[in-house]
């Protein structure tokens, strides 16, 4: 299975996403922001980083990159897409996911190992987890506060579209401790924490993040 990793100007964790795809047993295909071409991949990861310096608003400028056009169409018709951190912000800016991400309530960048609970396994990227599974993956951002209006939040919870939630204290003021969400169809997932940095215990706190990539590859199914 071929998984594309998009590089925008200012993408930083694209190499890590690529490594995670390889470790999970997938074939990594790098995609360039300037090419309106998905090279026939079976899934796409929008990696973390500071696309366009995160100037204006995180993800606001990347959203207009040529590669986003085919990506948005493909996502609407079911292509699995995972947005990590900056990638999540880009998905919200592109209206593939509801809500938005704003400055952390404590107004400083925060890098820490974050405990999360997997609340929905009915997505292309979390099927390998057990519902309610507790995982630890790095969180690192300055604008990770998830916000949306009450109606949207109720809808997300009602439809079981909150994918991961923060445990052990809200790190950034996100509404209802939301760390990641999915679209109605479950193929598009966005989250602020970095599963690609929790794929081996030499460079990460755990291997808990590997499951996201194994889910889409079907290389691991829930025990």
């Amino acid at each position: 299975m071929r998984i594309g990793v998009v590089t925008f100007p200012g993408s930083l964790d694209d190499g890590d996403a690529a490594r995670a795809v390889r470790l999970a047993g997938g074939e990594m295909v790098s995609l360039w922001h300037g090419d309106a071409d998905l090279r026939g991949v079976d899934a796409v990861v929008l990696p973390g980083g500071f696309s366009y310096g995160d100037y204006l608003r995180c993800g606001a400028i990347a959203r207009f990159a040529p590669v986003m056009q085919p990506l948005v169409e493909a996502a609407r018709s079911g292509l699995p897409v995972l947005g990590i951190c900056n990638g999540f912000q880009i998905l919200c800016e592109s209206h593939l996911l509801p809500g938005a991400l704003i400055r952390n309530d404590h107004r400083t960048f925060l890098c820490r190992d974050q405990r999360l609970r997997v609340d929905s396994v009915a997505t292309a990227w979390t099927s390998a987890y057990e519902t309610g599974a507790e995982i630890v993956v790095p969180l690192k951002n300055g604008e990770g506060g998830y916000v949306a209006d009450e109606r949207t939040l109720d809808e997300l919870e009602g439809e079981g579209r909150v994918v991961v939630r923060y445990l052990g204290g809200n790190p950034n003021g996100s509404h209802r401790e939301i760390a990641g969400i999915t679209n109605a169809r479950g193929n598009v997932v966005g989250l602020m924490p970095h599963p690609e940095h929790a794929v081996d215990t030499l460079t990460g706190p755990t291997t808990d993040g590997l499951g996201m990539f194994e889910s889409v590859l079907g290389s691991r199914v829930a025990p």
């Binding site: 100007p9 200012g10 930083l12 964790d13 190499g15 890590d16 490594r19 300037g34 973390g48 980083g49 500071f50 366009y52 310096g53 995160d54 100037y55 404590h106 107004r107 400083t108 960048f109 925060l110 890098c111 820490r112 790095p138 690192k140 300055g142 970095h194 690609e196 940095h197 030499l202 460079t203 990460g204």
Partner: protein, 760 residues
């Protein structure tokens, strides 16, 4: 705008020039006239003044720094691939890899505009590393501020941290270590030293030469604006005082996003072998890049200033030459490669422009609007600046300071006093957790960070297949250096060396940043000379080369100089990073050993500082042979997997090391003061060449043999873990503290001082 051309300068020898305002001395101005055989044009004067400033010319420190050059240009595993003269030295780490690293100061700009000053400090050192042909892989920051509770520290520290984090995080470079130190001596003159480390294959080494007559000179990156005009010479060669704010306009603003593109673009140029020479634009901007490239190469270059892309079209030629706009690089490119170079720059959205070419004229000529405004021998600008033998003498107060030792200070004796002292110590600004600072730095990005704060060293994996990696630590202790600059510099070297060995890495090379007061003050100059002598002798004793560094002088307010602060960075190599040794206790039942000799040494200690606000006496004795033996034991212990945890003992003594090792994973320990050692001395003395290690029972014999074989002193002082129940740190027959209580004391201080206040 009337242009002061070379022709005009020749015709108007008497024309008065503002050489003094530009920081030049009368004799320096006279020498420029003599070199040129006429008065300099205003553009030439701008170039000479900025290039001959202390910051760029090292005119006061040069004669002393020669000592580093006299060291063998050799590391324990091989020859240096590039030595001091270059942007940064290059070290062979094996398997065909080379590593380059360097630490640089951005002190004065960080006082004037803390956020941008610190941010551009990171940007500058990263370009230095990039200019060697290396991919930057990590940064570190060594920070010093006034008293933690002082209002100005509340202005400076959060902004400096946000600046370093904001720039480094956006650049995608993990921050893997550094220091945060508070002392009244840094009030009004904080020290912000940034370190960057880069990795390359041997064959990719690039040096700053403009060679190949007819080759093109390409300026690429950000457009040139009025940023920091004269910033280097003004900001870095005057004392502050209340006129500080008036210098504000000469501060530059950084754009990490552009720098990220600059990195990727530059590495793409290297990868295709398109550049014959490269130079970053830092302080002194184009003046520095053109003159240094030219004098290192064939010696001739012609530049057309009109081709420099400008952000502000009203800039005069002098200003274009002085501008310190960030995120710019200069490359020397064969004509055949120019199209491809411009293509690659365009792919990365990086502005690029051919601004000149390499000539055989032996001169650097610069034209603007069709007229020649600069015509100089480049060496005289870049490498043949003035050199001073500043007078220096041991300060009259040095003896009294050393005489006023800590022996008279009241010491805690009773168990409850020791316990209370421990809790006050670990909560003090210099010993408490740095997490509030370091949590603002991304330590994960690039996916090769094996160890980062709060470990003794940062460790970066260099090769994913072979697990080859490097370790880095920076250290300095201005209090020790004030008491004895020679020994103080060696103690900084010893601590960084120990920190690198503690994680299991073999120390290879040294970089340094020498932060001192005014070289025109003989006391300060003596401190500087002694520190350099100490560091050079120390490196010789440890068999390490100094691969580069940076000197920052004039660190003082109107009234007083900062503590003499030689910041030392040591680079080590791990052939297999999977065997790195972390600092935290993990497995109950393992034996805790204290390695080294414990003496009653409290001169300059944190205990004297925290409990008595006292600075006097002599610093702890330094024994570099012992440090070398200790390092061998720690490296072998890691290689043979005999130690599960190791932590160096330094500021705050054994007590501090034990608290840090317990809190890392929340596992307690029970220790006992060996008979014959006073518990207070056991816990708080800062004797050097010591470390604590946790050893699995099964490895005890082999480990102790390792020490005995080297005749290295070791004492079994306790065990990891504790009688079931809540984890505690217990000092038998004295006291016991629950880890929760230790953590509360250790972690609350910086947030309470600096966390943004909550809204109403």
């Amino acid at each position: 705008m009337t242009v002061d051309t070379v022709k005009h300068a020749a015709e108007t020898p008497e024309h008065p020039q503002p050489w003094a305002e530009l920081g030049l001395r009368g004799e320096e101005y006279a020498r420029i006239r003599e070199i040129l055989g006429r008065r300099p044009t205003s553009s030439e004067l701008a170039m000479y003044s900025v290039m001959w400033s202390e910051h760029c010319s090292y005119k006061s420190s040069k004669i002393h720094l020669r000592r580093f050059g006299e060291l063998a240009q050799q590391t324990p595993v091989g020859k240096l691939l590039a030595g001091m003269g270059e942007n940064a030295g290059v070290v062979d780490v094996g398997q065909g890899y080379a590593v380059t690293f360097k630490v640089e100061s951005h002190n004065h700009p960080s006082y004037v505009e803390p956020h941008q000053g610190a941010a551009t400090g990171v940007g500058g050192i990263v370009r230095d590393i990039l200019a060697m042909g290396a991919r930057p892989v990590a940064v570190m920051d060594s920070l010093r501020f006034g008293p933690a509770a002082a209002p100005d520290t509340a202005r400076v520290l959060p902004a400096v941290v946000a600046g370093i984090g904001g720039y480094g995080n956006c650049l995608g470079l993990p921050n893997i270590g550094g220091e945060v130190v508070f002392d009244p001596a840094y009030a009004g003159n904080p020290l912000v030293n940034a370190l960057c480390v880069g990795v390359m294959r041997h064959e990719d080494l690039h040096l700053a030469h403009a060679s190949g007559v007819g080759n093109l000179v390409v300026l690429y990156g950000a457009r040139t604006g009025g940023d920091g005009i004269g910033g280097v010479s003004v900001l870095a060669s005057e004392t502050f005082g209340d006129e500080g704010p008036s210098k504000r306009p000469s501060v530059q603003v950084g754009d990490p996003f552009t720098e990220k593109l600059l990195i990727e673009c530059t590495l793409a140029l290297f990868a295709e072998g398109l550049v014959v020479g490269i130079q970053d634009l830092g302080g002194a901007g184009l003046s520095c890049a053109t003159s240094e490239l030219a004098s290192a190469g064939e010696g001739g270059m012609h530049v057309v200033l009109d081709h420099v892309p400008l952000r502000d079209p009203t800039l005069a030629p002098e200003e274009i030459l002085m501008s310190e706009s960030q995120e710019r690089m200069m490359a020397v490119v064969p004509p055949t490669a120019i199209d491809r170079v411009l293509e690659i720059c365009a792919r990365w959205d990086v502005d690029a422009s051919v601004v000149g070419e390499v000539t055989d004229s032996g001169r650097l000529t610069i034209e603007w609007r069709g007229e020649t405004v600069v015509d100089v021998p480049p060496r005289t600008v870049a490498h043949e600046g003035p050199v001073y033998e500043r007078p220096y003498a041991r300060p009259s107060w040095q003896d009294d300071l050393q005489a006023a030792g800590p022996s008279s200070l009241a010491r805690p004796a009773r168990a409850d006093e020791l316990r209370a002292t421990l809790l006050r110590m670990i909560a003090s600004p210099n010993l408490c957790s740095r997490a509030w600072v370091t949590d603002q730095y991304d330590r994960y990005v690039l996916g090769n960070t094996v160890l980062a704060q709060p470990e003794d060293s940062g460790v970066i994996r260099v090769d994913e297949q072979t697990a080859l990696g490097v370790a880095l630590a920076t250290d300095a202790n201005g209090r020790y250096a004030k008491l004895d600059p020679y020994v103080g510099a060696q103690l900084a070297l010893a601590e960084a060396h120990r920190n690198v060995a503690a994680v299991g890495a073999l120390p290879l090379a040294v970089t340094n940043c020498l932060n001192f007061g005014s070289p025109e003050n003989p006391d300060v100059m003596w401190q500087f000379a002694e520190a350099v002598r100490g560091l050079a002798d120390g490196c010789r004793a440890l068999g390490l080369p100094v691969t580069g560094g940076n000197v920052s002088l004039y660190n003082q307010t109107a009234t007083s100089a900062v503590l003499p602060t030689p910041v030392v960075g040591v680079l080590g190599v791990l052939d297999d990073v999977t065997r790195r040794t972390p600092s935290g206790f993990r497995t109950p039942g393992q034996t805790i050993y204290l390695l080294g000799t414990t003496r009653d040494e409290f001169g300059g200690s944190e205990w004297a500082h925290v409990e008595h606000d006292h600075l006097g006496g002599r610093p702890p004795a330094v024994d570099l042979d012992a440090e070398r033996a200790l390092a061998e034991i720690l490296v072998r212990g890691s290689r043979d997997r005999l130690v599960e945890a190791a932590h160096d003992v330094s500021d705050g003594g054994l007590a501090q090391a034990l608290v840090e090792s317990c809190l890392r994973y929340g596992v307690g320990a029970r220790v006992t003061a060996p008979v014959g050692i006073d518990p207070f001395v056991f816990l708080f003395t800062e004797s050097a060449a010591r470390a604590v290690v946790a050893v699995p029972r099964s490895a005890e014999v082999r480990f102790t043999d390792l020490c005995s074989a080297r005749g290295y002193p070791y004492q079994e002082i306790g065990v990891v873990g504790d009688a079931a129940g809540t984890p505690v740190l217990e000092v038998r027959e004295q006291f016991s503290v629950p880890l929760a209580e230790l953590r509360e004391a250790f972690e609350s201080t910086l947030p309470a001082l600096f966390a943004p206040a909550a809204a109403p």
